[in-house]
Symmetry: C2
């Protein structure tokens, strides 16, 4: 157990990220008390049942009051309203952060509401699973994953350093980044891949000549990999695309261009082009495995063990 | 151990599928002897070292001679030439099958070479991993996966039934299908998803403003799921796209149409459209898990265990 980094932490919103943060905070012993709030009474009841948070409050203001770190864990589209609601209750010198997948939009939605006597250090833990809700969290979610901090202008280094130490204690690696670069990096590594997966799954579902049961039965041939990320939380992802519109559309434009080039190679029978392309993409996979960001076990290790 | 279903089985080509078949044949005890052949001397040497096949032969003809079942395990584009080579050596009453991912093309490339005294029962075990080569096989690869058999016209039922029993003994479920329907089903569940994954990985690799190391570091946000199938064998996949051109291009056309509709929803801010789409795709994932075709563990279970 380390010493507490924050005396009191407030988690506003109790889904996959917040619940994982709570269990990771407890594992690391880096907060004396964790309060929590969720808009839905059902979620609050579930949280109380499973011991999620030391104290579950019935309003965001109650949870945020007297907290040293307030973490906004609601969908990106709801951040502004929550910030406005809790602003009057924020303690002098407190740090406000968030876990949203886009940063430019969150900064413009949240920053105007916050009083001068708090520090706003936007954040984005790049971790998740296809599951959502208060029961989906687990302490190891952030282990060896990256948390990006995107401080607004003129933020002193102390609150940023303290938040970095906090995320490291939760298992994450930390990097500081500019908001626009953050939003572009995420459009490439996360937002465009999710939209493409959603699209592929939608197409398969829609094909009249191939039945749903065939799509399901034969999914291990590749399709099922897409269904995992296409099972992610619909509200969260709607908000991501609406608030990181420009970067996502730019990457999707590049994607379509490239896809058309490969389609042309198929149509014209240009086997060399296809072979070279498929050889190049293979090496990126190796880089990811060497960086410890994925398993080398065949099929993500989900099935049998390799000889 | 069951009784042998075939006295001698010949595996022509010794990659992921053939090597997995060998270990699965041994596990089930369904062949008295398994011979093997690979074009590359290095692969044959590796096979001998690791005990892959009871006898590794230096020519396809030697391996196929006197075999009761001959399995063509080479890339789809090489099937015709191999069939032509071994045809004169085939035993009276033998069954020839293959494991290629497309069927219409394999049938037209292989069938004309085979003598009337053998049965041709094309097959396609829908299983694989992103690894390839003789050391990548394991006995459990086909467990609870599907093997599609696509018999040519006028094939008697005996050789089809016997091959079905053989694949079931190797752990697979078996279904009989028409060649054109097979190729369409695979375009949806396998070929289009692979091309899309290859494209997404290529785009990420190509973006100048996002460095390769950023793509690798932050890949757990979704991108890494695509890199697994984009690490599959380049020769095999080149051949698949060149020989299942029409069905693949048709599905990619549908995909592009759908992607454009979602891009327009993002551009115009149509959140309801996005939300409804993402909700619908979530239910397919549930179907796949209920059918035992994927794990429900978060992140394919590759990381930490869930609370």
């Amino acid at each position: 157990m380390s010493a507490p980094i924050y005396d009191r932490v407030a988690l506003i919103g109790l889904g996959l990220i917040a619940s994982s943060m709570f269990w990771a905070i407890k594992r690391a012993g880096v907060a004396a008390e964790v309060t929590g709030y969720a808009r839905s009474a059902e979620t609050r009841a579930t949280a109380r049942e499973i011991g999620l948070c030391d104290r579950v409050c019935d309003s965001a203001v109650d949870a945020a009051k007297d907290a040293d770190l307030i973490v906004l864990c609601v969908p990106v589209g709801a951040m502004g309203a929550v910030a406005e609601e809790i602003a009057p209750a924020l303690k002098n010198g407190a740090t406000v952060t968030d876990v949203g997948s886009v940063k430019r939009h969150v900064i413009s939605a949240v920053a105007p509401h916050l009083p001068d006597h708090v520090h706003f250090v936007p954040g984005h833990p790049m971790a998740g699973t296809e599951h959502s809700g208060p029961t989906s969290g687990f302490a190891e979610l952030f282990d060896n994953r990256w948390c990006l901090l995107v401080p607004v202008e003129n933020t002193p280094s102390d609150p940023v350093d303290r938040l970095s130490r906090f995320w490291r204690a939760l298992g994450a690696n930390v990097e500081v980044m500019e908001p626009d670069h953050h939003d572009l990096v995420c459009a490439v590594t996360s937002h465009a891949p999710h939209l493409i997966a959603y699209t592929m799954v939608g197409v398969a579902d829609d094909l009249r000549r191939v039945t749903d049961s065939e799509v399901v039965k034969f999914s291990a041939a590749g399709f099922r990999d897409f269904t995992r990320i296409a099972a992610s939380d619909p509200t969260m992802w709607r908000d991501v695309f609406l608030t990181n519109k420009d970067a996502t559309l730019e990457i999707l434009g590049r994607f379509t261009e490239e896809l058309f080039a490969l389609q042309r190679a198929i149509r014209t029978g240009d086997g060399d082009h296809l072979f070279d392309y498929f050889t190049r993409t293979r090496s990126i996979r190796r880089g990811i495995i060497e960086a410890g960001q994925d398993t080398d076990a065949p099929d993500f290790g989900r099935g049998a063990t390799q000889r």
